[in-house]
């Protein structure tokens, strides 16, 4: 697996004003990496993720996955939506089987993969429930394993933990990490939470909301599971926050404050 993001530019027109969200963004992602796109709201990180997914097109530049140009959404790129987008008329089981049925995976293999995924997400015995009967965390895990069901080359996650409270968020980060350790799919995750980025990723790509550019590309070679109180951990966090600048920290969003 090799994913190349080559000179991506994208702008939006808002009330007659052109707003450049992405300007000549380039980087390459290698097999098995957990990469986080970190940045304040409006920096274009979600836009970049949806361009990689193929939901929208860049004005300039191209996305290349394994030497093939990305033009539309496809099962080689799994996507976890911020609001999960589980099909409410299907049970957990049917939601997870759906992508495999689309790819014509043989029945026996489908069932085997389903059991495997439910076990990985600690959702055994929950297969017959409907999404509205699940807790927030269970929905989130269902969304992740549904996206993994088709064995994508890369898993794209758009603020997968955005909708939960602080304590829950920490628990879910740990659960998500545990799942990832077992699965090891390449991941690109979007977040605005510095702590989440340092806890989860091998590599953090920091984006700024001023010119739609990459501020820093930082690798975090810490052992997993990580100690949030550890010296190196706090050092990485501090470094990222310094890079984001005091301006951003003092903005009305409090998420950048040291917790």
């Amino acid at each position: 697996m090799r994913l190349e993001i080559n000179d991506i530019s994208k702008s939006f027109i808002n009330n007659g004003e052109t707003h450049q969200v992405l300007k000549d963004i380039s980087f390459t992602i290698e097999e098995g990496e957990f990469v986080t796109l970190l940045g304040p709201s409006g920096c274009g990180k979600t836009t970049l993720l949806t361009i990689i997914a193929g939901f929208q097109q860049a004005e300039e530049g191209e996305i290349v996955l394994n030497d093939k140009k990305v033009v539309a959404p496809g099962p080689d790129r799994g996507f976890v939506f911020q609001n999960y987008a589980l099909f409410p008329w299907k049970t957990v089981r049917e939601n997870i089987l759906y992508p495999m049925k689309q790819l014509k995976v043989p029945k026996a293999e489908r069932e085997k993969r389903l059991e495997e995924l439910l076990k990985m997400a600690q959702l055994e015995g929950k297969g017959s429930l409907y999404p509205h009967q699940l807790s927030g965390g269970m929905k989130q895990r269902t969304a992740v394993i549904r996206a993994l069901a088709s064995r994508p080359q890369v898993l794209l996650m758009d603020e997968p933990l955005g909708a939960v409270d602080f304590q829950m968020r920490k628990d879910l980060q740990e659960q998500l990490e545990a799942m990832w350790i077992k699965d090891r799919t390449t991941v690109i995750m979007v977040t605005h939470d510095v702590d989440e980025a340092v806890y989860m990723s091998d590599r953090v790509i920091l984006m700024s909301n001023e010119q739609g550019k990459i501020l820093a590309d930082l690798s975090i070679p810490l052992e997993r599971p990580r100690d949030r109180e550890g010296k190196k951990y706090t050092m990485y966090k501090q470094q990222l926050m310094d890079l984001l600048g005091n301006k951003t920290i003092k903005k009305k969003e409090t998420i950048y404050q040291v917790v």
Binding site: G74, P75, W89, P152
Partner: protein, 212 residues
């Protein structure tokens, strides 16, 4: 039957139990309504004391019983019911696909929307002379009128249903390799179904109303 307070109910049993409870309450409330209305009616008819101006609920009930045991009346009811179902079926059969088409395609919505909005304004009774000329006497005009009154709520609700489907569902399905057919069958239809049902309910009641 002894009631065991400590019994742990499975989710399914709970649902069955709660549905049963809901149904019992529902019937109880309806009985209260009927009883209250009946009492007011009875007192009013007793004060007026005239079968011509306002017959008592008992006289009316007796007349109703006589009517529904009369073969001719029963036969007519069944004819009406068949007409309503035929008209309703037609308005669903035409309205749902049209609604899907208009919900998906802006062009179809613009072209057909104007046409439908103008036809929709014609009072249902204004169709009567025309339909008699077109379709003769007999079942034709009645079924036409029932279809006419039911089709618009079906179309409009189906359009709303299709247009309100979250883009995320389409995108999710596409990242799972779904074909166009599967997106229609597994995403669009189930997501629109609640709105189609609303349209169907309205069509059914409007159909009954336009029968007379």
């Amino acid at each position: 039957m002894a009631i065991n307070e400590n019994k742990i109910y499975s989710p399914r049993e709970k649902i069955v139990k709660n549905v049963g409870k809901g149904l019992a309450y529902n019937i109880m409330y309806k009985l209260i309504t009927i009883l209250l209305a009946g009492t007011v009616w009875y007192i009013a008819s007793w004060r007026l004391n005239s079968d011509l101006l306002l017959p008592s609920p008992f006289t009316t009930a007796r007349a109703f019983l006589n009517a529904i045991t009369d073969e001719v009346v029963l036969k007519n009811i069944s004819i009406t019911m068949v007409r309503v179902f035929k008209g309703f079926g037609l308005s669903m059969a035409i309205g749902v696909p049209l609604g899907f088409l208009m919900g998906f395609s802006k062009i179809a919505n613009n072209i057909l929307g104007t046409l439908i909005d103008s036809i929709r304004q014609v009072p249902i009774m204004a169709w009567v002379p025309l339909t008699i000329i077109w379709l003769g006497l007999g079942d034709g005009p009645t079924i036409f009128l029932i279809t006419m009154s039911g089709i618009f709520p079906v179309i409009l609700n189906t359009i709303t249903g299709v247009q309100n489907i979250s883009k995320d569902y389409y995108n999710a399905a596409k990242t799972m390799g779904a074909s166009r057919w599967s997106i229609l069958k597994d995403i669009v239809v189930p997501a629109t179904l609640p709105d189609i049902m609303v349209g169907a309910r309205l069509a059914m009641s409007l159909g009954w109303m336009s029968v007379i």
